[in-house]
Subunit: 441 residues, 2 copies
């Protein structure tokens, strides 16, 4: 056990650019469509809710975009994040495989989400925006944006899906501690919220309704913009620091990954690790790339690749993506960050082209792997991240079966400090497998 | 803001020895006394509950003790911990002072406690011990020992003060996730617990009762030892990795601290940072060293320096220390880790000799500083650690008054992810100042 198991980088090695795969795609992405006219969206259509700098990034033809110095200064508070070799897990699995993981839980908010929250807040701040509005499900994204806003002295309003608001009070308190105001959604602060409350006064809320509330808040206040934590190109762009660092650290470890694994909700942590490796794949080399989603919300493995809305109320543009339908309601699994009906259009296209593979897991085997990981590697993982662990374990077990070594790299996107009730349910034998009502798995 | 604010160390720079100040003291410590005979304790008196290796460390005349390789391997999973310069906090305070903090919250358990938990578990494992029993108040120590035991395949039993067991379920769930069994104390698993329950069936418990239960469990099971998270010499010894790293990192930053600050409960994070600097003070140089405790439990500032028991039930040896009396019951402040009636005998002696200063703060100004810190530096601190922040802020404000720069270094011993209810109470104006019933401050 005395070999090296942690790979760091010097501050000077933290990436100073974001990597953009758009200009390297075999064919350009189908454009987003205006929700009313169904015509290709013009950049200015997005100006009421996004600053022009981020709209430009969304469609940028540049292969690299410089990271502004003030963003670098904040990134460096916790970046580079560590890359670990999971020697204790390997030993427990008795596998010849080498398992590496990139750990994003060392950020103050506990996940990879601040990589884009800091960037989005900064660009909005520079554009003179005073307040950001957003939605959050389980709370990872909302707390990342609350952190980012306090770093630049901005205000932050978070519409938090009511059932999470009630069940995950610690995430809400964390946002409050950073100075954000948090409303349970549906709320009476927006027309969309009031309509939802009128229809169902006891509504537990949904991400779809919360998005509608945040977008309406931004669109109807001139000093306020909207901020999204996944799905869009500029969000994934900001996350590419993960994969760039991982490449340097794997070089430090003296190994090349043969398979890259990330959990998949909208695609932000997955894209962050995978996209720099996607560039290699598009150039005819590079590892297998594996996106892991829950059976409860199987957009990549069972959805259709077609135009759909990003929210239930059809306020967002239509995007060509893998989708279960904008009115799909997944069962209440603990990986709240993976409960999205759609998927990043960019990553969807790469799945459709066979560059990225997708696989879905049930909740119980995911928690089996999460607990084994906690008891060997020490870190209690977020339920979302545990989907990637499960897949990495299965790859390592397959390597044992075949007697062949294999180098596996996965993204451990966050810690599970606010998800311990899920662990208690699992340890107490009360966790369900998370099957969608219509599924026959 | 573009200057360096984070100082790391390479794996090869993680300290490979623990630093022992015992042989450098101006006069030897008064010996612990047997609880029944009141005669100086013999090492073999401790053998029923501690392995001989740790008993030797408790009284060691060696100035340095090598850290075994298997402990180093686990330390390196999160060590060296980062040292930060708090540039954003400095700016918010408009102070010429330079504020540095050593952040121990990056361990999987979220505090400095694993530094000794890993070491204690390993020495017990080597001695053939199958199970460790301990007590925990707020849960930081219990979760650190649960983590350590799972690393070596040992069993772990934690007696958790009942009111914390009920109020902080996430800490308990974290211990369960690492495989520990956790009993609310008083429990019916021990004679001491059953006696307490017979006297008061609804007892909220106390650290004193929980210690008695854990010690009895260890003393009555031949395969089980007891483990303590603070106060004793060998515990502080293991924590000296903190201060040794900080010294290297301050050198990297090109500055010498003029004042060292740590929060003080039993003394383990404080001693960990301070003891390497105490050696400098004993050699006639070195910084001011400041221990910060809550007014609610003011052992160093209002206690007596005399022999007292470590627990309520008088099962532990008598130790010469600052104490409020073994039956003192502090008010229920949120910094549960600082609610101990006594203090490390080693650090008590250094306070009595004037090598270390002590200061007490009320709960509200501590949370003022905690929230200011969270909103500038991003990290949500544990309420215990926030006592050190409050003192550092006051030192920085004094520097602003005097117009003179000053280099301040404090220990941020852990994060506050499981203490957010305290933040909610503070933000909602419901937090009390935490005055002891008898105090006139």
């Amino acid at each position: 056990m005395s070999e090296h198991c942690k790979f760091l980088l010097a501050d000077s090695q933290v990436p100073s650019v974001w990597v953009n795969v758009l200009p390297s795609l075999r064919q350009p992405l189908d454009p987003p469509l205006h929700p009313r006219t169904r015509q290709p969206l013009k950049p200015e259509d997005l100006a009421p809710i996004f600053p022009m700098s981020l709209i430009e990034q969304e469609f940028s033809p540049q292969p690299e975009i410089d990271i502004p110095g003030e963003i670098m200064d904040i990134y460096r508070m916790w970046r580079a994040t560590p890359l670990y070799r999971a020697r204790r897990l390997e030993k427990a699995l008795d596998t010849p495989a080498h398992i590496y993981y990139k750990y994003e839980g060392t950020s103050p908010a506990g996940s990879h989400k601040p990589n884009t929250a800091i960037a989005q807040a900064w660009y909005n701040h520079k554009a003179g925006v005073r307040r950001l509005a957003t939605e959050t499900g389980a709370g990872q994204w909302g707390s990342a944006l609350a952190l980012a806003c306090t770093m630049f002295g901005m205000e932050c309003t978070v519409y938090m899906v009511r059932c999470s608001y009630d069940q995950k009070p610690y995430r809400r308190m964390m946002m409050n501690t950073w100075g954000a105001e948090v409303f349970p959604s549906p709320s009476d602060h927006t027309e969309a919220g009031r309509r939802a409350l009128a229809a169902a006064p006891d509504s537990p809320g949904s991400l779809g309704i919360a998005i509608s509330e945040a977008v309406e808040d931004a669109a109807t206040h001139s000093d306020t913009n909207y901020s999204l934590g996944s799905v869009l190109n500029h969000v994934l762009l900001h996350q590419t620091v993960i994969g760039q660092e991982a490449k340097l650290q794997m070089r430090e470890a003296g190994e090349e990954p043969e398979v890259i694994i990330g959990c998949f909700g909208g695609g932000s942590n997955f894209g962050g690790l995978a996209l720099p490796y996607v560039l290699d794949r598009l150039a005819g080399r590079g590892p297998r790339i594996l996106a892991i989603e829950p059976v409860a919300c199987p957009s990549l493995t069972r959805g259709k690749f077609e135009y759909d809305y990003g929210d239930t109320a059809k306020l967002t543009p239509l995007m060509k993506m893998y989708t279960l339908g904008h009115d799909f309601v997944p069962p209440g699994i603990h990986a709240g960050g993976l409960r999205y009906h759609g998927a990043s259009p960019l990553l969807s296209a790469l799945v459709a082209q066979g560059v990225i593979e997708a696989k879905a897991y049930l909740q119980l085997p995911v928690f089996d792997a999460a607990v084994q990981f906690a008891r060997t590697e020490g870190i209690v993982p977020a339920p979302e991240s545990a989907h990637a662990i499960r897949a990495a374990v299965d790859e390592a077990l397959a390597a044992r079966e075949s007697g062949r070594s294999k180098v596996i790299l996965f993204c451990l996107s966050g810690h599970g400090h606010f998800d311990l009730a899920a662990y208690e349910a699992y340890l107490g034998g009360k966790l369900q497998n998370g099957l969608p009502a219509s599924a026959a798995v």
